[in-house]
Symmetry: C2
Subunit: 191 residues, 2 copies
DNA sequence: TCGCAAAAAGGACAATTGTCCAAACAGCCC
DNA sequence: GGGCTGTTTGGACAATTGTCCTTTTTGCGA
């Protein structure tokens, strides 16, 4: 549920120590602060060092859908930079967040000049695809109850860390449905 | 709905002409034939030259969920090769299919030695992520009816090309629900 | 401590979707 | 054409989820 990429984080930390400090820049955000908002040009690629953020889309009917929760080592903005697109998603800090950011041109240069970095990014992209594929399939094929039990199995404390409305938006259901299902599970001592 | 990547196809065709014929190998499949099945080691990366195939997962409850329909220029197997994983999905031909396949080690070498190829693959991966993100969000946030109208807008003839059970599996609904919604739409002359 | 506002939880009903099964239809062999 | 089989469609009811709104709880300043 909260995505991580320790391998990438280690590499970026090393880069941050070796390179001049205008290549890998550290930046802090407070809870609820916007890191990326949609339909904007993106100038940096961000790698999370600390904290949790949510990545979400807002649909034409006003509903907010959460794509992923990002934790340590996860990368955002790379898709827009690689494809030269405007941002499609919004990224917002849930807890306090520390990121490393890399200017987009430097990021593209690194991709070409640093084979290890290139492979790390290729693997990060593949991992995002696989995660999305499995999650989407599971969500569409199982009832809300199974989805909640699955979240609890993968991240037992999620109910205390992620606001309820965000959990509902992640599962693509209403807050009412979430509460109802949680109560059913509690009555049966499964939660 | 049916994914394509003309840019990648053009490049592979060029590669097929230049390179010795054991680098890019052409292969044919008949309708319903399996191209990749899940939980297997994958030895090739496949790029579609002709035809349509479906990419699907089978859940523990037996339900089949269709991730994507692949058309010209789309690539499969690259995720497993890059991440050294077993296959998670199944790929099955819907129409007659022609693919170019590249042996996994050669694919990895190309990624490192051919910058243009590397960029094409990076962009293909990003495009898959973006497509999945938008689709998942739309599906979770809109009723079946809107999803059908959206498919029709993007691919007017889909109802005659893709079997109904596949459309239902793509939308994550039952055949019964699909038929019902189609009838509603027809009664209102929207389909 | 009281009172207020904002957030969270839940009741009641409506709409949507699934399950199960029967009817309708098409293809095909004799 | 008659009868068989498999596929497609749809009826009836059940289960799930959403909508709308009220009640309850929580946090905080006066």
């Amino acid at each position: 549920m909260i995505r991580q990429n320790q391998e990438l984080l280690n590499y970026i930390i090393k880069l941050h120590q070796i390179e001049p400090h205008d290549v890998v820049i550290e930046q802090h955000y407070i809870p609820q602060e916007t890191i990326i908002s949609h339909d904007k040009r993106v100038n940096y690629v961000y790698i999370f060092k600390e904290g949790i953020a949510k990545c979400f889309l807002i649909e034409d009917n006003g509903k907010e859908f959460i794509e992923e929760f990002f934790g340590k080592g996860e990368i955002v903005g790379e898709i827009e930079v690689i494809n030269s697109h405007l941002t499609v998603a919004n990224i917002e800090a849930i807890t306090s967040v520390v990121v490393f950011k890399i200017q987009k041109d430097i990021f593209m240069q690194l991709l070409d000049s640093d084979k290890t970095f290139n492979h790390l990014i290729l693997r990060a992209l593949c991992s995002k695809i696989q995660y999305k594929a499995i999650r989407h399939s599971y969500h569409q094929s199982h009832p809300v109850e199974s989805n909640l039990l699955r979240l609890k199995r993968d991240f037992p404390d999620f109910i205390n860390v992620i606001p309820k409305q965000d959990i509902a938006n992640y599962l693509g259901i209403t807050l009412r449905s979430l509460n109802r299902t949680l109560n059913d599970l509690k009555e049966r001592y499964l939660f």
